[in-house]
Symmetry: C2
Subunit: 163 residues, 2 copies
DNA sequence: TTTTACTTGTTATGATATAACATTTCATCT
DNA sequence: AGATGAAATGTTATATCATAACAAGTAAAA
């Protein structure tokens, strides 16, 4: 059992299953799930927190690839474009999607104490932004394509230590 | 009449009134509304779009100040901390608040065609993030302090030109 | 008026991200 | 299998965004 997000949860198999899900999805969509893309997703999954592009790059470099920045950014672009990962804008960092496959707008809770990131598993996450914006967007004539929600605050652990 | 956000609207006096509002607020809160801070807010207000820190810096430099990056970032930090401006995370850019004084979570619509930014004037903007997250945050034990919502899509003008 | 906090000036550097182009690999068609 | 066009990668260089650190000045409070 290891810490994930703000809770505890056994993910000894979740890397493998997430990778498998990505494989299946890529086969279905005729996307190339190449070695580097797979490796970057594995790195994100194994850390299970938000990582900067250069942290990923360091990891790749440590494994022998002489990886330059575009290598990481291209893999991340692929993963983000296809819904296997998200960018956390507030942190300029990337995190594996907690529920790939499901159509959703990412919604994160970000701890300002320890930078832990928890992706909310709201099924409202898909509808809520458009619902909230619906009126205003329509009034402005704006066509929403994607939306992100990022909440900052304190996770349980940091609330305790700050207390 | 000039273009603001995605619409048209007369703001010949809105710079002055926003500056005045900031003055009043700073006096009340005993904050120093210094020359640089005022000037940066004026720049943001006059452009009425999201500006990068270095664009602001260029403007300051053009006015004779030999401004280095920390000058802009400090002023922006002040303005953001005190609610006179917001950072648009997706663009790494800053924009004057459309409704300062009102307690609110910023909510933006960002055009991917022209990068125009419109701050939604939802009074739900304040409550909605916490409402949406409420259950999940409580379940996770997370204490939300701030939240931002950023929607991407196409503004009316870019919808027309893309059509 | 001394002291204290805050603000600014300045240099240097760190962190994040992309442009551009040559090369290789992959998918597909014949 | 071989041709070919699309996609991915390797690599160099550089653009863009942001902050650390410290000296000097200015304003507010005691």
């Amino acid at each position: 059992m290891t810490k994930i997000g703000f809770g505890i949860h056994d993910h000894s198999h979740c890397i493998a299953s997430a990778i498998h899900a990505a494989e299946v999805c890529c086969a279905r969509e005729k996307l190339q799930f190449t070695k580097t893309r797979r490796r970057v997703l594995e790195i994100l999954l194994s850390q299970h927190k938000a990582l900067g592009a250069y942290e990923i790059l360091d990891q790749l470099a440590a494994e022998g690839q002489n990886a330059q920045p575009p290598v990481a950014y291209r893999a991340l672009d692929f993963l983000v474009s296809n819904g296997f990962a998200h960018k956390v804008e507030k942190l300029n960092a990337y995190i594996a999607c907690s529920h790939p496959g499901a159509e959703h707008a990412p919604a994160f809770m970000i701890c300002r104490g320890c930078n832990a990131v928890h992706e909310a598993c709201l099924d409202t996450a898909n509808r809520a932004p458009k619902g909230m914006f619906g009126g205003a967007a329509q009034a402005a004539g704006f066509r929403i394509e994607t939306a992100v929600i990022e909440a900052s605050g304190l996770c349980p652990a940091c609330q305790s230590s700050a207390a």
